[in-house]
Subunit: 429 residues, 2 copies
């Protein structure tokens, strides 16, 4: 607490990096711990590209690794992005030099977190990444610090603002996925290559990080079951609404005696449920603890302001000199979790199928479901124009996923069924 100046090196000067520079210019003394935060150097791919912040006064480093290890730097901030390459090299170099690292890089932590934690703890250097999950909404801090006096059974939420924006727009405006995505790209809400977001990978990175804290294990991204929103059809959004649901990209991690399941799926959430009432680019998260019960948190998940504020909060944390493991226990003892096979999931489901408009179809489908042991909860048949058949949709009671798959395979083979039934999960939370 006696240090007067904390020199920060910032690598990566995109939206978040620009937001952070602007914040540190305005409020160098923001931290509760006495001392000013000063930008000791910056690094990015291009020095000359137009930016909202003037960077000409900051010492420039072509190589982020050189910045990370420069003796002028007390705390290294990595905002380059990407799970490998220069981001990883610079973070490793800073940690090996014993410098605290603050990063917003969810891919890096989800894919290499355990390995980086070993380096961090060997060199007694904090590795902080609040901004990697839910932007300014402190999901990491809650699980890392506030829930240590509890055992967490489940975390589930909406962790990708781009997907939530697209799904909300599809529902509100009745426009199909491709249209809304194109508009989101024009407005800067979606990347030119939207795969990380709409493919569910970004949400999977984030829930993998939260699962590591929740279940005291190494982040195990490779075990995540991932389905994006790129195949969500307007028809399903409408039918789900008629059944009392909204479709959201739900990321969840839950633990049973058999293992841990980390999943990202477009899922039906009952209208009125707080996740269903999380519109636009907002993020939201449930944490279910045995002692604390259920905590719900909702807030901005991205954007320059919120994310830069989360980076600043981590810088302030590093200034306190707190010494704690990166994850939930010494890095050397972290193990990947035992993944529950996807077919072991038991849950309610939504099945939509296109059938010929003829007598006996519903009977045939119902019989097949009964034979498989799938019990129907609700049923909806609705004429839809230009659908080339009659869509019927049903929801099931809780059913093992292996049983559902068997039923879907059998229904697909029925003569009157025109295409493979579309399966969407109904969220458990």
């Amino acid at each position: 607490m006696t240090k007067k100046t904390w020199n920060v090196g910032i690598a990566g000067l995109g939206t978040v990096g620009g937001g952070l520079l602007q914040f540190l210019n305005e409020r160098p003394d923001f931290a509760p711990v006495p001392g000013k935060v000063v930008v000791a150097g910056v690094s990015a791919r291009s020095r000359t590209r137009p930016r909202s912040v003037d960077i000409s006064d900051y010492p420039w480093f072509d190589d982020p690794v050189a910045l990370a290890t420069d003796k002028s730097v007390d705390i290294f901030v990595e905002l380059i992005g990407g799970s490998d390459g220069p981001a990883k090299a610079a973070v490793e170099a800073a940690l090996k030099a014993g410098k605290p690292v603050v990063t917003a890089n969810k891919a890096l932590i989800a894919e290499h977190g355990a390995e980086l934690a070993v380096i961090a703890e060997a060199h007694n250097a904090p590795l902080l990444f609040e901004a990697a999950v839910m932007g300014g909404t402190p999901a990491v801090k809650m699980l890392r610090e506030a829930m240590v006096g509890d055992e967490v059974d489940e975390v589930a939420g909406i962790l990708n603002g781009t997907c939530n924006y697209i799904l909300s727009e599809m529902e509100t405006t009745g426009r199909p996925f491709a249209d809304v995505l194109a508009e989101a790209q024009r407005l800067g809400y979606a990347e030119a290559d939207p795969t990380m977001d709409v493919g569910g990978f970004d949400a999977a990175h984030k829930i993998s990080i939260l699962a590591a804290f929740a279940f005291r294990c190494a982040p195990t991204f490779s075990a995540a079951e991932i389905e994006g929103i790129d195949e969500v059809e307007l028809l399903d959004i409408k039918l789900a609404r008629d059944l009392g649901y909204r479709i959201k990209l739900v990321a969840s991690a839950d633990k049973t005696d058999e293992g841990v399941a980390v999943r990202v799926h477009p899922s039906l959430v009952a209208q009125g449920h707080p996740l269903a009432e999380t519109p636009g680019a907002l993020n939201a998260l449930f944490i279910e603890g045995r002692r604390i019960g259920r905590i719900f948190i909702q807030g901005a998940g991205a954007g320059a302001g919120p994310t830069a504020a989360a980076v600043a909060a981590d810088i302030a944390d590093a200034m306190t000199g707190a010494s704690r493991p990166v994850f939930h226990g010494p890095a050397g003892e972290l193990r990947p979790f035992v993944a529950l096979p996807p077919t072991a999931r038991v849950g309610k489901a939504y099945l939509r199928m296109l059938v010929r408009d003829e007598a006996g179809v519903i009977a045939a489908v119902s019989e097949t479901l009964a034979e498989c042991g799938v019990s129907i909860d609700s049923f909806l048949q609705k004429p839809v124009e230009d659908a080339g058949g009659v869509p019927i949709v049903l929801t099931t009671h809780a059913t093992p996923e292996s049983v559902l798959m068997d039923a879907i395979n059998r229904i697909e083979r029925l003569d009157a069924v025109l295409e493979r039934p579309r399966l969407l999960r109904i969220a458990r939370i």
Copy 2:
């Protein structure tokens, strides 16, 4: 991080103390920081009173101050309660001995927080009190740590579970305040002397603590404007519902250029708003930051499990060796905030009055309001049996409180008006 054993002294063995003992028995190695947490000694008013946990194996201290300063104790946990007396004496003694203190005592922190922070920082001893606000839901951590990269304009929420339970029950069951309170006392949800809760003082303690973090000042409990729920009538709950609202005890703190307003009032919250949808004993909080935007958090606000978990989280934080000021900046620089006078509030209001069932009454009331400059938003007249008159209720557009008071005084003097109009505020959030 090299310490093998952390010796904790616990003073106060009520619900939370018992829950903590049980937790530490089950999970002495709960903290992510390596090391076991061991109970080095306990103190309470009575050693022999029946308890759910056997305390015969722990060293006993009659005097909590002796426990707080005993050389066997590394971390002192104060769960005695009360803003003065033994709780304050023991906390001061522990801090003066340089020992980290963890407390759930909202009254102590709200009324003497600034003074205790000076002692804590002079002796380099952390003073942590997550459990003082919202039990296991980490409101303090959010404002103290996660929001430091932001400027907070407003915090508002439901911070007293007992009041929320009583109001929810009144609405659901249609029973009056006194009935529901008596039942809550039987069930152990309310204290034998319920004044702290139903009088709004507990919520005022909590919002005063949050305001200190939000606005970087000393907790200033004496400046809080406090109205409890003991005069909330069933009639108002019913009329509010007809107008699309629910009555909740809302604690809020907001800052303008003129000053800070810390208020606790039974308030109308629009149905569908997350605070209106916070039932039973749950707590909920909005934090409005300039960069991060609006964060909403909801969870259990009290109870042995959640509160003990929050105390445990603070113990784990103390084990990290983090060195940060108790509030938002060095204690010696903390100042009470400038309080905005209550009459300066501008907001929408609900007015309910009992009038004679005769022609011209509504005209007289409307004219009086118009003369005072109060603009009516909605109006409801509803026959109510046995009311001894006709209740009329109206909501206003945003109006300065001084203007409202003038209007209420004038309406009270009208011949056809049978009693002083009842004012309830409509929540701004």
